[in-house]
């Protein structure tokens, strides 16, 4: 089913089409919201808000971009608004303070026994990154959006998207290399 066909059916109030749209894009919305907010207990409510906004504004969708890009934009903006309203919380900061924390912070002293530990460390490192970095990483690697599409979603210039992506990747890689230096040869040989 094409985007236009799906939108047409949804706007006619077809419940199956509405469910299909949610099922089709719930992962995308969850990825954007989940990476920006990091609090599992609010993710589902925010995802619901995003979809209700999508349905409310669907009549304005002109088909200039892919429906996924359009929905991701709404998810990004809705979550950004939520974060601005909840600025006090450490993990919901929209500023770039997290970069410094990641650069200066020591790695958690854990026994790097297996790949699961590496994943946990990378997850912890991602969570220390600023929201923009995390979002861009998710949109690029998990959702496979292009630089241009990420720019459309986040409202950032394409050059900024590229530079954030490069920088966030470098930060994560440097964290990973520290681990590999320390005990990595054992880890990656498994």
């Amino acid at each position: 089913m094409s985007d236009a066909e799906l939108v047409g059916r949804v706007l006619n109030g077809n419940e199956h089409a509405c469910r299909f749209l949610v099922a089709q894009y719930q992962k995308l919305v969850q990825h954007v919201v989940g990476r920006m907010v990091l609090q599992e207990e609010v993710v589902e409510d925010l995802c619901q808000d995003v979809f209700m906004k999508v349905f409310r504004r669907l009549h304005t969708f002109r088909g200039d971009a892919r429906l996924s890009t359009w929905i991701a934009t709404i998810a990004y903006n809705t979550t950004a608004t939520y974060l601005k309203r909840n600025k006090g919380r450490k993990e919901t900061s929209l500023d770039h303070g997290g970069v410094m924390a990641l650069e200066d912070g020591d790695l958690p002293a854990c026994d790097m026994a297996d790949a699961g530990e590496v994943r946990r460390l990378l997850q912890a490192s991602i969570e220390k990154l600023p929201v923009h970095y995390r979002t861009i990483l998710t949109l690029f690697y998990l959702e496979e959006f292009s630089y241009r599409e990420i720019g459309e979603i986040t409202g950032m210039p394409e050059g900024t998207v590229k530079s954030y992506l490069h920088r966030s990747r470098q930060l994560l890689k440097s964290q990973l290399e520290k681990v590999l230096d320390h005990e990595g040869r054992t880890v990656i040989s498994r």
Partner: protein, 132 residues
């Protein structure tokens, strides 16, 4: 074997870090939303869309009825007071029928399609929320 290859070489370790990072970034590590999420949100959205459609229909019908009546009223007002008085006398006689007809029309266009579904919808949501 891999351990021996990686030990001396910086480039190999670099490649391995790249590979691990790429693998991690492309994997979905989030716990999924509840299994009923799509059904719940889809049902809610469909109801709202249908109600919005009914409300739009109602507004269109109301405009279609009230606009000509308004125009007629203005024309009569300016065309002469005598005619207006004639119409006022007619209105006095026909008022019960017109009010009754208006009531039925209101029920068909608003109460039946907008108010009742709205009440059922909110009662349903409230019941659903309590049942959680």
């Amino acid at each position: 074997m891999k351990e021996e290859q990686l030990f001396p070489g910086e480039p190999e370790r670099n490649e391995e870090a790249d590979r691990l990072l790429e693998q991690f970034l492309r994997s979905d590590v989030m716990s999924p939303l509840s299994s009923s999420f799509a059904a719940r949100v889809g049902r809610k959205a469909a109801r709202r869309l249908v109600m919005r459609q009914h409300l739009l229909e109602f507004l269109s019908y109301t405009a279609a009825i009230l606009l000509p009546l308004g125009v007629l009223g203005v024309v009569l007002y300016f065309s002469g007071r005598e005619q207006l008085q004639e119409w006022a006398a007619w209105w006095d006689t026909a008022r019960p029928f017109l009010v009754g007809g208006g009531g039925i029309l209101f029920f068909l266009l608003v109460a039946d399609k907008v108010l009742l579904p709205w009440l059922f919808f909110f009662y349903g949501s409230h019941k659903g929320a309590r049942g959680k």
